[in-house]
Point group: C2
């Protein structure tokens, strides 16, 4: 079956690799170098010159661009889209994406919003791996009008890619992800910048950190354009999660400033418990 | 040579294991189970019933307890301490420790404050490993009155344990570590608690996180008693670092709330650059 991969980066590239011979993808990327590299790595079978030309004859269209570019891509492919194609995205936020899909696609009922919870701080086609989704979760956010056959097909494709598939309403998705994914990124960005600034003022700090800083800020090296879009397209959820973080920081600050050891030990224990709950560990 | 290991946890235990046959340690721990386990693992050759009895005849005394227990340990061992012994700690903060040492030890000039920048989120004698310090840095914070022979010996011991040794003034140490180590822990505690609370309200969040949350909060599972002491004994430094984190969070919040994509992308790029600077990567 023919497919179109719009955006040949880490997530889209990994999905194409995971599907292997099932789908022969035409690839489009705003960066011609990325598209060419995806062709070299066998992620796509041919490079298309535009998103519209990529989707011609495609029965599976995968939109794997920064979430705020979804509207532009949908508008570009709408005239060329096969009437029977399944269209999917892989974005980290869902409500705004679905609004754009309903606005720009001629058959929004054949669109299935997908979010594989997998990624690394790396980006681009060279970071793509057929195993990225193995054992990871993939969330589908169907609309009431979503075609059941397309939804079933989307589920099968993600399962073929190794993911465990669940369905979740788009608004619920965005709220949940604001906490488990977007907030950790925001915290890592702020932490890396704060320590980076301190190191700029005092070079003694360079090379001084232990594994704690390394791990806590690993995701601070994530793709800025992708994360700009994620945070802006889930603004309310992210701001709510940030308020929760602020409150926790304020509690810690009060205990530290007051020298309240009992309270502080309790807050630290609570953090470990919270982590275990989230990880179901 | 005979030694005393006061506190048989991760760091003290790893140091004893790293020194191997060079030193035969008597071990004391406030938890008799920890001390017994350290004996079983060969970390110490015998268990002592008190800190004072452990240091009798010891030429090397290693204080490896939560930093705020240093005073109590110093007071306890002072009467029994050999006049020629090198006494070292391994704590994560230095100024307060040195104040306590000067107050309680009869020969503070034979004390060398040491801080190996190594650790994991695990704790206790079972987590100890002879390789914990291999290739890691160890900071010594000598006082003007510190005996040069003892300082040299301390350096040799840490180098024998595999560490790269540097000297740094205690106040400078505490300020630097507030940023590269203590702040990452505070941020991880707050993040794990914020997401943990959200998961307590919405069980959908459980098991939903990707690798970002896992890494960003790994150190949130650190020993609460140890970290309570670290944060309280470096209060001013930690509060200063927390203010820097607050400012970075506020900048991110403003850009997100205003929908300012250009600014947000710039802040995220800056975070990645800051991380590289700190890691000298």
């Amino acid at each position: 079956v023919n497919g179109a991969l719009l955006g040949c980066g880490l997530v889209g590239g990994s999905f194409a690799l995971a599907l292997g011979d099932r789908v022969s993808f035409a690839g489009y990327d705003r960066s011609p170098e990325n598209a060419a590299r995806a062709r070299e790595r066998g992620i796509v079978s041919r490079v298309a010159e535009s998103a519209a030309s990529a989707v011609k004859d495609a029965e599976l269209v995968v939109i794997a661009v920064p979430v705020r570019s979804t509207a532009e891509i949908c508008e570009a492919i709408a005239p060329a889209l096969s009437k029977s194609a399944l269209v999917m995205d892989v974005g980290s936020t869902k409500s705004e994406v679905l609004t754009q899909v309903k606005r720009w696609l001629p058959f929004p009922e054949r669109f299935v919003a997908a979010h594989p919870i997998a990624g690394t701080e790396k980006s681009g086609p060279d970071a793509a791996s057929p195993d990225l989704f193995r054992g990871r979760r993939c969330l589908l956010s169907p609309l009431p009008e979503t075609d059941r056959e397309k939804l079933k097909l989307a589920r099968e494709l993600w399962e073929a890619a190794g993911a465990r598939v669940d369905e979740i309403d788009a608004a619920h998705h965005d709220h949940a992800l604001a906490f488990v994914s977007h907030l950790p990124h925001v915290a890592a960005f702020a932490l890396a910048s704060a320590v980076g600034e301190a190191a700029a003022k005092d070079s003694w700090l360079e090379g001084l950190s232990g594994g704690g800083f390394v791990d806590a800020t690993r995701i601070a090296g994530s793709d800025p354009r992708m994360w700009r879009d994620v945070l802006l397209s889930n603004r309310d959820g992210v701001l709510e999660a940030m308020r929760a973080l602020d409150e926790e920081l304020a509690e810690l600050r009060r205990a530290i400033a007051a020298g309240d050891g009992e309270k502080l030990e309790q807050l630290i224990s609570r953090a470990g418990d919270g982590r275990k709950r989230v990880l179901r560990a």
